[in-house]
């Protein structure tokens, strides 16, 4: 049961992203050309849903599944890292039309060339680990 609930959440995530076509290279291209509202609509509704949910959790002190208080951690400190890292990711996102979630979802959908993107993404993660102390954060 413990493991199953995470698989179920991931399964729904894979289906929603495929059926909404958020995993589609075309949709990402169209978004960056400002030629469709679809992707903006998805992101906005997801954020508003999350925002309302988090406000409810914080105001009435909702406990998590184990009965522990829910703590939502702040992101790491820094500023340059968000700009430079964000721009790097954006370049990759628009080039291959996939962010990390969709890389896995599209592999499941049977697109073998995604394997190259995954290999690249693991290499990129490794490069960050290698260069971390030399980079501005």
């Amino acid at each position: 049961m413990n493991a199953l609930k995470y698989i179920v959440v991931g399964f729904v995530f894979g289906i929603v992203l495929t059926k909404s076509e958020a995993v589609s290279w075309y949709r990402i291209y169209e978004m960056f050309q400002f030629q469709s509202f679809h992707m903006y609509g998805i992101i906005m509704v997801a954020v508003v849903t999350g925002l309302i949910g988090i406000q409810i959790i914080k105001r009435i002190n909702v406990k998590d599944i184990k009965g522990l208080p829910i703590e939502i951690l702040d992101k790491e400190p820094g500023s340059a890292r968000f700009w430079i890292g964000g721009i790097c990711f954006g370049l990759g996102w628009a080039l291959v039309g996939a962010c990390p979630g969709p890389i896995f979802i599209l592999l499941g959908a049977g697109f073998l060339p995604m394997l190259l993107v995954l290999i690249g993404a693991l290499l990129g993660t490794f490069f960050y680990g290698l260069l971390r102390n030399k980079l501005p954060h």
Binding site: F11, I28, I84, L107, T125
Partner: protein
């Protein structure tokens, strides 16, 4: 049943993605897919040489299970819940793509020009896909999050840092789409 096979509208999908994030928060976890890339690196044992990867990857086992679910979800959605009429984008976008030699969607999720199996014969395309991956892996770890961690989780928790990252995603995406892609294709 038609509703399932058609393209899901943005308000349904956006709501479900928000609920997925809240579900993980309720489980005492957080929504972040790029962390899995780091976990996969840690699993190779590279942490002995690079302290950044010297973490107990078993604490992220739950997130890898989310990935397993996502892979299964992608398989089921693409093979059993899809319809050949699905991906249909702005005709203006299609004309632009054709000018670059990229095939129109005609229901497909991904263009053959980038993700058809023929690309394995093209060193240029292999390089482009690996390069895209490197930018994604490097960028998400540097910015400590991707679309799920920053755009969805961070923005809904009103994090200014996430807003910076998301603006960065868009600057990068706009540069790629408007200036770099036309040079590559």
């Amino acid at each position: 049943m038609d509703i399932i096979f058609q393209t899901w509208p943005w308000y349904v999908s956006g709501f479900l993605i928000g609920m997925i994030m809240l579900c993980l928060i309720y489980f005492g976890k957080s929504f972040g897919m790029s962390t899995n890339l780091s976990t996969l690196c840690s699993m190779t044992g590279i942490g002995k040489k690079l302290s950044f990867f010297d973490v107990d990857w078993k604490t992220q086992r739950w997130n890898l299970l989310v990935v397993v679910g996502a892979i299964l979800g992608g398989f089921v959605a693409n093979h059993f819940l899809s319809d050949p009429s699905n991906v249909d984008i702005n005709p203006k976008t299609i004309t632009q793509l054709l000018q670059m030699g990229i095939d129109a969607p005609k229901g497909k999720l991904l263009p053959d020009a980038l993700f058809g199996n023929v690309i394995f014969e093209s060193p240029k395309m292999i390089f482009i896909l690996i390069l895209g991956g490197v930018l994604i892996g490097f960028g998400t770890r540097y910015a400590s999050g991707c679309t799920s961690g920053h755009a969805i989780s961070g923005l809904s928790n009103l994090q200014i840092k996430s807003l910076k990252a998301v603006v960065g995603f868009f600057i990068g995406g706009l540069i790629m789409t408007h200036f770099v892609l036309p040079l590559l294709f």
